[in-house]
Symmetry: C2
Subunit: 180 residues, 2 copies
């Protein structure tokens, strides 16, 4: 009863459906490609696992948003997906939609919220650890950019700068904690 909803309203994409359809819209690809590409790009703000990707590809094909063809490499079976006209229209509908999900979960921040359960020394350790982690992650993102040769990319730049901002914020908190 609920399962048919997806087919009835083609423009309603699930969250995973958006990433998958978007990636197929960027160019023909296999389920494996989607995993690989998302793992070193959208993963940081929108991940996808095999358990979602393959079933989602079938759903999108059933809904007529993508089309698949068998394109084996030797005896290695391989199913390449391409976006359809309907699919392209659905991606655009989504891209121009107003509603925008934003959620984040930061266990470090949660720990900071519970800071009264820690001693001042422990609190300082936490703040230092978070700072170090954000610095490390900023460096890691920079490396990814160099490896993939997408250093000028706005989205990657966002990631790097966000990590740097966080590192600076925790550095400032560290100073306030040690200064008092």
């Amino acid at each position: 009863m609920k399962n048919t909803m997806y087919l009835q309203d083609m423009s309603t994409l699930t969250q995973t459906g958006r990433v998958v359809l978007g990636l197929v819209a960027l160019g023909p690809c296999t389920g494996y490609d989607i995993k690989r590409i998302s793992d070193n790009s959208t993963r940081f703000f929108w991940g996808a696992s095999y358990g979602q990707i393959y079933p989602e590809l079938r759903r999108l094909e059933d809904a007529g948003l993508i089309r698949s063809s068998d394109e084996p490499r030797g005896h290695l079976r391989r199913r390449v997906y391409r976006i359809t006209r309907k699919g392209r229209s659905a991606v655009r509908d989504w891209l121009l939609d107003e509603e925008t999900a934003f959620e984040f979960r930061d266990e470090g921040l949660l720990r900071l919220f519970f800071r009264e359960l820690m001693t001042p020394a422990e609190r300082l350790d936490l703040v230092r650890a978070r700072r170090a982690w954000f610095e490390h992650t900023a460096a890691y993102f920079r490396e990814i950019g160099q490896e993939l040769d997408v250093e000028g990319d706005d989205v990657l730049r966002y990631g790097i700068e966000l990590m740097k901002w966080n590192a600076a914020w925790f550095a400032e908190l560290e100073e306030r904690l040690t200064g008092e």
Copy 2:
């Protein structure tokens, strides 16, 4: 077979378990209190719904980390939870743990990632909309701080400043897009 793991290893808390146990550690409270408190504090970086809270409270009590007592108000049944010695120790183990989850999902960023599927004008609209949203959210967080009278709180300040940083980042991108 897997269900007993929770009981065997008491220091292993689920993600929801951490929020719930932490909130009980801050002071005795009911399931309803936990929902209310988390809804206007941790919600932004770690939410919890009734469907998680009540079962989690039972699990935590079974594991001996919290203890409950019936404290009705008139004829309104009411179950107040308090942290135990074991629970306090488990919270501290978690607070001092190295591993820290950090994940965020930003659909606006995902759309930006797929920017080549949009026209320049649409791209600009997206960037402007994101900027406005972050500005709006920063203002909303400030209001919360005023209402709850926790304006100096580091965690809230983090939220406000993060939203402001995002607004500024998108404002800068907007300038680059209009300038070229």
